[in-house]
Amino acid sequence: MWKWFHQLASPPHFYRIAPVFSAWLMVPGLALIAYGTYAGLILAPVDYQQGDAFRIIYVHVPSAYLSILSYMILAVAGGIGLIWRIKLAHAVAASAAPLGASFTFLALVTGSIWGRPMWGTWWEWADPRMMSELILLFFYFGYMALRSAIDDTNKADKASAVLALVGVINVIIVHYSVVWWSSLHQGQTLMAEGGPAMDPGMLYPLLAMIFGFNLLFGSLLLRRTRTEVLFRERRTRWVREMILSREGQS
């Protein structure tokens, strides 16, 4: 097992195997999203309180999940890179940031679009869930700005990893904000005590969308990391040999 992990952390090995894993994630991911979109928009019954506006959850909830998951990947990878000095871990963290920022932005915007007809407002500054999610977006921006402000890759990796670890506190606040404080945002639905409080006709498309988005994210992350590895290793012999052998084939 450790040997497999050790091999996976090798940049040339990762570069070779990443496209295979990426395809394995992408195909079922897109299939699940296609089913989830159709079932969410057409098959799921109308919510008795929210009407058809509730269908926004099928894009809002997966985006919100990814905003947190992506940050946790970023922070854990940064921590691993910081402690064990694994180069691939820093490449993963650097690649997760723009993806996470885009899904956090999407979660905020789709949540706002949902909030307008349901709560009568696009935004509520006093709401803990909305504000902590907005702060999460700023952590992503700060992480990316810090990376790009430092020319030395090693120093940028270390400084951004520390910032990423500090931001985990905010992720915990995002997750528990609806439990700890009174919020306009609804409480936990899927992780509610006693199981998900949803009709199966609404729940299954939502689960399909969450898994589909996660798989798609995994595929995007693998490909972004692969390019990041190529960039970081651009002066190494294996990259030169790989490029030359490809040119020889074409």
Binding site: T37, L41, V46, D52, A53, T227
Partner: protein, 53 residues
């Protein structure tokens, strides 16, 4: 038409789905664009090195 109207919430629902599609497509495009940029830069660098050698 009922599907488009979404019980008078059509503008909200379709805007949310449209934005999601745009964000996913931008992510996919950025992955491909970055890949080709990095690859091209390395090719140029290797050719320059070979010419110097």
């Amino acid at each position: 038409m009922e599907v488009l109207a979404m019980g008078n919430y059509g503008a909200y629902v379709w805007t949310a789905y449209g934005l999601t599609l745009v964000v996913v497509l931008i992510n996919e495009w950025r992955v491909r664009a970055r890949q080709s940029t990095v690859y091209r830069d390395i090719e140029v660098r290797i050719k320059a090195l070979e010419e110097n050698e």
